[in-house]
Symmetry: C2
Subunit: 152 residues, 2 copies
DNA sequence: CTGTATGCAAACGTTTTGCATGCGA
DNA sequence: TCGCATGCAAAACGTTTGCATACAG
């Protein structure tokens, strides 16, 4: 287990763009790193605020936005009014996964099974789309909607 | 071309649930039908309002929500702050498709090629997930993110 | 005639912005 | 020191809700 805090793996990415390493940014990334879940900005803010009460919600939004544009974080909109964020591709992070969303209770479940076939499909499709539309594909999302066990 | 206005294909669906056929609902569905695009609630409202200025934004939201719950409309959240709506599976409608979203200019492109392989993949995966998580899957969405031709 | 559907205005929750201050490099 | 980064408060935005009225069945 390497990432206990100040792992430098993301500092390089930030400094490479001229961005500064600050306490709020360190804390926000650490929180994302320790949370295996799709968290909202408010979720991050609450946890950050518990540790360092001087951090403001605005900074959380701005940091998440910056990380999203750098490709360090992926932003999701599941249709419940608030955006969710997840670290992507980080060394200690959880596996690539997709989502199962209950239309009634809005629960979001992750699944990471059956990814071998998916990877194959995604790669093939991305390649064809990329060529046909001259589109540089950097990411993708697959979501299934329906009714969860409790709601059906 | 069948659907010029009062096509009854959706009236049955509505009446089957006890919902009433009203002028605002007819108009909203007609607008969705004539629009091959992923429209926001405001988009629908503007067009509806041009035709019948007595229609309110609230009714547009409530109607789109009702149609979504009936499965007549699919609601999308692409992360730009407003939800988009599309008619799904209607007789004259366009083919099932997925989305290519530019992270810089937020343009949303549809693609409906390569769906044969996709259908196979989706069916297989949905079946497995359904069994494993006891989840009743009714819909799915696949989106690719990246940079469009103009932005890269 | 009954109850759903509607429009308006106001409320709501999330996200963004303006501005003065703080602090990393 | 210089300018990006921050926090606060207020604004902005999309969406939802309360309520009295209209109208489909």
């Amino acid at each position: 287990m390497r990432g206990r805090g100040r792992g430098p793996w993301w500092q390089d990415r930030l400094q490479g763009t001229g961005a500064r390493i600050t306490a709020p940014r360190e804390l926000i990334i650490e929180i994302l790193h320790e949370t295996d879940d799709h968290v909202s900005a408010a979720d991050v803010y609450i946890r950050a605020h518990q540790i360092n009460p001087s951090i403001g919600l605005t900074t959380v939004y701005r940091t998440l936005d910056m990380l999203t544009q750098l490709g360090i974080v992926q932003k999701f909109d599941f249709g419940d009014g608030k955006a969710r964020y997840e670290l992507v591709n980080n060394p200690n992070g959880k596996k690539h996964h997709h989502h199962l969303i209950c239309l009634r209770c809005k629960t979001i479940m992750d699944y990471s099974e059956f990814l071998d076939e998916e990877l194959e499909f995604v790669k093939k499709t991305a390649g064809k789309l990329s060529k046909k539309y001259n589109f540089e594909i950097t990411d993708h999302a697959i979501s299934f909607y329906g009714l969860c066990e409790r709601c059906r």
